[in-house]
């Protein structure tokens, strides 16, 4: 069974030969082909090259189009900054929605309009052509609170929840519509799965998560499903207090960061939920030893049970020793779910 068949079978609850392996790599993938990170973010051919190279070197079961959180915001017209060897950044002090009234006139950008979203969609087309039969092709969208933070400024959005809940909901609705259009084009280009990154969700407590965030995440997940897509949810940071909600969105895969325990997620998520993660990418994967990585991977597997995919808690840091990353991959190679 090849990589793609393995992941699809595992999701469908059918037997697989070994654990699927889907760690997030971006800067490491770029470094592997000696490219500038700026090019990885802006030129889909570089991204595709880097992803295929890293997936083949380590035997990952998938390739992914994520590079930075600013694709959608950039196309909306947000001020962003490019760095030689860092992810593209959104300039929060010049946030697009500094004035809330701007939202009323903000147009959803055409994902095929030649901007940064289009670049991501092109990456999917090229992935499909190059490795589409062997590897899972994963696209990417920002989740509602992550993208709303990018457009409004994260510090400001955090207080908007109290000051102007109606505005927040209007903004989230705008975001969901935009992300659904983006997702649709990615699926049409051949994405098997859509990653949904909603990092800022880890900053809010269960009340705000349930009232403001979850309902819009749910709309996005349901919309992607209706298009025939699958969803991998990833929230960076401490999600301990929102695990129940994350585990009841109906995502095919819930990808957990290291600050929440897989055992807690297993208890709180819907039965049969596939969990992915979640060793600390820095203290274990980057700073540890191959033996430690193996040990922690086994512990993750034990906590998650058989509905498990091997990965780290978040992006594999670019200066991770290859032998450590290899130990993570070997764990998947030698263990059945």
């Amino acid at each position: 069974m090849n990589s793609r068949e393995r992941v699809l079978a595992h999701i469908a609850g059918q037997p697989v030969d070994r654990l699927p392996l889907m760690p997030i790599t971006m800067m490491l993938a770029c470094q592997g082909i000696g490219a500038r990170y700026r090019d990885y973010c802006t030129d889909y051919r570089v991204l595709v090259e880097g992803q295929i190279h890293v997936a083949e070197t380590y035997g990952f079961d998938y390739v992914n189009t994520m590079s930075d959180p600013a694709r959608e915001a950039a196309d909306c017209g947000a001020a962003i900054e490019y760095f030689e060897n860092q992810p593209v950044a959104i300039l929060e002090d010049q946030a697009l929605l500094t004035e809330k009234t701007t939202l009323a006139t903000l147009k959803i950008p055409d994902p095929l309009g030649g901007g940064r979203m289009h670049n991501g969609i092109r990456a999917i087309g090229l992935f499909k052509e190059r490795v589409g039969n062997e590897k899972m092709v994963e696209g990417w969208v920002e989740g509602p609170i992550a993208e709303a933070s990018d457009l409004r400024g994260i510090n400001t959005l955090m207080t908007d929840f109290f000051d102007d809940p109606v505005f927040v909901k209007d903004l989230f609705a705008f975001v969901v519509e935009m992300e659904l259009r983006f997702a649709r084009e990615q699926i049409q280009a051949g994405a098997d799965m859509i990653g949904m990154g909603d990092a800022a969700a880890s900053l809010v407590g269960p009340q705000i998560y349930e009232e403001f965030v979850w309902p819009y995440e749910k709309q996005l997940v349901d919309g992607i499903h209706a298009m025939g897509g699958r969803v991998r949810l990833h929230i960076c940071g401490n999600t301990r207090r929102i695990l129940k909600g994350m585990g009841s969105l109906g995502c095919e895969v819930v990808d957990l960061d290291s600050l929440a325990a897989l055992s807690d997620a297993r208890q709180q998520a819907a039965p049969g939920q596939i969990l992915l993660g979640n060793m600390n990418p820095v203290t274990i994967l980057r700073n540890g030893t191959p033996e430690l990585v193996t040990q922690v991977a086994a512990e993750c597997h034990r906590q998650a049970g058989s509905r498990f995919i091997v990965g780290a808690g978040c992006e594999v840091p670019r200066d991770t020793p290859p032998e450590n990353l290899r130990a993570l991959c070997e764990y998947a190679r030698h263990h059945a779910p």
Binding site: Q86, T159, G205
Partner: protein, 211 residues
């Protein structure tokens, strides 16, 4: 006449309007401004910090509490300055070069202000020269650096080296923080202090200026 004790509740619940109104009324009634800070606002922010540690409060709640505290401080500070009260210390704070995370740094800055410090917020992506400039031109006696990325942590070491080169290292205490920072790292790079949270940062800064 509102009870100044209500200031505590207004800050804890993040109600900036009440916080300002109570403060104005209390000042009009002749309550000592410093007493408002020390007896109500500082304990309130301690409580907010405690709730954050206990996972009862999250970042949005922290930010509105900090805002409520600032609303009161805006009217209190000029009074303190007018009567010649010196700030406890002068802090130059910023997120280090290459790093754009500022939520934690902003909270630390707010709490330091609440604790009676004058805070010069240099923002994010702050190069060493900026810190040096502020030490020289504005007599900052504390440098507070924040970093959230393992890739930008080394900028703290670089900044300390630059302070030495510029001959200003002895004029300031250097405090550092941010999720990946540890006491061990602070010792390694020769920082004067580390705290894992914003409430601790104020205690740390107070100790630093007392020493």
């Amino acid at each position: 006449m509102p009870d100044p004790k209500l200031l505590y509740d207004a800050v804890v619940s993040g109600d900036a309007k009440s916080s300002l109104a109570i403060t104005q009324q209390a000042l009009a009634d002749g309550v000592d401004p410093l007493q408002l800070v020390n007896d109500y606002m500082v304990p309130a922010m301690d409580e907010v910090g405690r709730r954050f540690e206990a996972n009862e409060y999250f970042v949005p709640e922290l930010l509105i509490s900090a805002r409520a505290m600032k609303a009161a401080l805006e009217v209190i500070r000029p009074l303190l300055v007018a009567r010649g009260d010196k700030p406890v210390g002068r802090v130059a704070i910023g997120t280090v070069k290459g790093d754009l995370h500022d939520i934690g740094k902003n909270l630390v800055a707010s709490l330091l202000e609440g604790g009676g410090f004058e805070v010069i917020d240099l923002g994010v992506n702050v190069p060493p020269e900026k810190f040096i400039e502020v030490i020289n031109t504005r007599q900052a006696n504390i440098v507070a650096m924040s970093a959230l990325l393992t890739t930008t942590m080394p900028a703290m070491r670089t900044t300390i080296e630059a302070l030495k080169k510029a001959g200003v290292r002895d004029k300031v205490k250097v405090l550092i923080g941010g999720a990946p920072i540890t006491q061990k790292y602070a010792d390694e790079i020769g920082a004067d202090g580390y705290s894992e949270n914003a409430v601790g940062a104020v205690a740390l800064a107070k100790r630093a200026v007392a020493a």
